[in-house]
Amino acid sequence: MLLSKSLRTAALAAALAIGAALPVYADEQFFPLQSYRVGPYAAGGTGFFGGFIDYLNLVNIRDGGVNGVKLTWEEGETQYEVERGVEVYERLKNHPGVAAWNPLSVGIAYAMIDRITKDKVPLITINHGRTDSTDGRVFPYVFPLLLNPYSETSGIVNYIATREGGTDKLKGKKIVVLYHGSPYGKETIPIYQLLADKYGFSLEQIEVPHPGNEQQSQWLSIRRAKADYVVLRGWGVMNPVALKTAQKVGFPVDHIIGNVWSNSEEDVIPAGDAAKGYVAITTQASGAEYPVLQEIIKTVYGAGKGNLDDKKRIGSVYHNLGIVNGILNVEAIRIAQQKFGKRTLSGDEVRWGFEHLQLDPARVEALGAKGLFHSINVTWDNHEGDGRVTFQQWDGVKWKVVSDWIAPDWASLRPTIEKSAAAYAAEHNIKIRTSDDTAVSE
């Protein structure tokens, strides 16, 4: 009897202890993070997810959350593998208050589109993902914020035109696109052709097989082609090898223009001196001089809650991309709260917030991000949001911005995007939305 009483007491104590350990979900907005901190792409993953978490921490510590709603998150390691990303999705999708998914992986994002559409939760693919998901009429829950691959292509060609003195000077120039041998690398092939036809430059597109650790033959072909510019549409090890091999065949590095996945410190540091002078596109400048970065250093790292182990990486390309991604997610929640109330929102309500995510340069400045990124103007049918791009040059130690904010030629790209989205809608039997279909479902 005594034993039984002791057991009951112990069971009660254990139950109370478990109850105390369980998280409280009232007024919390949850971010499930399919991060990759080990494996071949860990350098990018630690930077991006580190920046994202640093910004969420800043909002929690400085403001007490978004209008009192605390931001929470949980990480699931994917090692950048699609099946692991899907497993993390299935494991965390039922957590209360999921705001949005941010996998930073083309493969995982593709695998999630049907799932998040069914579950009515936004999928954010900042600077990457399906180009045609820009068309919010067909992809209501997918947001390739700031830059899709077609806009990137147009931005790069516009930058080259600026350097040459105008688009009319592109006629007769020779541009070679060196692309990664993957669906990602091949996605822009028709758009470069479209722009070559439009502006009259000569175009050659050369594939580098994955992973790209050998490029001698490709660069000898580039030298023989007498290219004026090479666009590097690389990934991972392909980028430093391209820069080193360019040096080996005597191609001038400042005439190599990197795309948005060839623009990080991880892409240039391994190339050493061969990378000095290399130029790459970006949607967010690097460096820690921006007020929001300074606040993160002071408030988050000062409180010992910084996410990066190596503080030298604060302000790096991937870290700043994570911070900008954090700003966009938080502002979407803030905008949605103005309509639905200052409480935990459903995924569909956050989707509405993203579809009204309009941050002009004044609002960007108020957020402490002037110069870090330009602006965004997402609407129900334009899920990219007309992000501007800038170009930065590697000086051997850090990136330096060398251009103004450049606008891609969205108008000429939109018909191609709509055509592709319409084909997707027909294939998947999707009803194309109109502006009357944007209300939040009950």
């Binding site: 041998g181 594939e207 650790n213 490709q218 000898l220 040096q247 190596d310």
Partner: protein, 296 residues
């Protein structure tokens, strides 16, 4: 009109790239020759060696001391692999041993990241990769340096195998393990020495490949370049690894430049495997591999 100068440039570039493949392939050959194990962990060892070296140097350790310390670590790793992985698996099937090395590669890759972090590193060996011109053909200084290192390594191994007792023991074990045991050779000691030698090769190859690609996780993927070299040259011949490397390097570069455009480009990775497959059908033991004759 056919551009002979360009052809020679592609050919020379391919041959010099092939030398780099040979460096990786030699590590495979050493272990396969003496134990019959296809060591899939060779790429991970290469990554581990390069990452250890560059991490030490970045922490202020002088270049040669860093190389020495890394060498000691690679020797320790070789001995540990023999003790922990190979010895318990004596008399297991070749497939079991292969799977063990596959698992080992993941363990080494994980340990490398756990110890030294996930950041990428540049590695400067002091050899500039600026080309010089010979008769209108650009030749890479770095590739020539790598070829000289590979040549030195092969010569050193040839002398070692021929003129040292340990080298003789290697050859005896490679020839017939049971006969070697019967005459009193200690198999475990020979295998530990072989894995140590493979560790040394991994260090040399890791430094050269690391200087070329940067020291990062994908360094372990260079094993994929070694496999067709082994099929072509033979799994148990150091000379085969060299000749196979040169052939694969030249063939893949020429194929990419002259056949690639007809097939949409990007063919060099699988073109090497097409050649290897063809060789496997015609000459399963490779150019220099030992022909296996078994009485049934």
């Amino acid at each position: 009109m056919f551009d002979y100068q360009f052809f020679i440039e592609v050919l020379v570039g391919g041959l010099l790239s092939g030398v780099m493949y040979s460096l990786v392939a030699i590590g495979f050959v050493l272990i396969y020759k003496t134990s019959g194990v296809l060591n899939f962990a060779q790429g991970a060892m290469l990554l581990f060696a390069a990452l250890t070296f560059v991490s030490l140097v970045e922490r202020g350790v002088p270049f040669w001391l860093g190389a020495g310390v890394t060498l000691v670590i690679m020797v320790a790793l070789g001995v540990a692999v023999e003790r922990v992985v190979l010895r318990p698996l004596v008399n297991q099937s070749p497939m079991a041993l292969f799977m063990a090395t596959l698992g080992l590669s993941y363990v080494i890759e994980g340990a490398a990241q756990l110890l030294w972090g996930t950041q990428v590193h540049g590695l400067d060996l002091g050899i500039k990769d600026i080309p010089f011109e010979v008769g209108g053909v650009l030749i890479s200084q770095f590739d020539l340096f790598a070829a000289a290192i590979a040549g030195t390594l092969v010569t050193a191994f040839a002398l070692f195998f021929r003129y040292t007792r340990t080298g003789l023991a290697f050859r005896a074990v490679a020839d017939d393990q049971f006969a070697a045991l019967a005459v009193g050779l200690r198999l475990s000691r020979v295998w530990a020495a072989v894995w140590t030698a493979a560790g040394v090769v991994a260090l040399v190859a890791g430094l050269l490949w690391g200087a070329r690609l940067g020291v990062q996780f994908s360094l372990s993927l260079v094993v994929l370049k070694a496999l067709p070299v082994l099929v072509l040259g033979g799994f148990d011949s150091v000379a085969g690894a060299i000749v196979g490397g040169l052939l694969i390097g030249a063939i893949e570069k020429l194929a990419e430049v002259y056949v690639g455009p007809l097939l949409g480009g990007g063919i060099e990775a699988w073109a090497a495997y097409v050649v290897a497959l063809a060789f496997l059908l015609l000459r399963p033991s490779g150019l220099f591999g030992q022909k296996l004759v078994e009485r049934v």
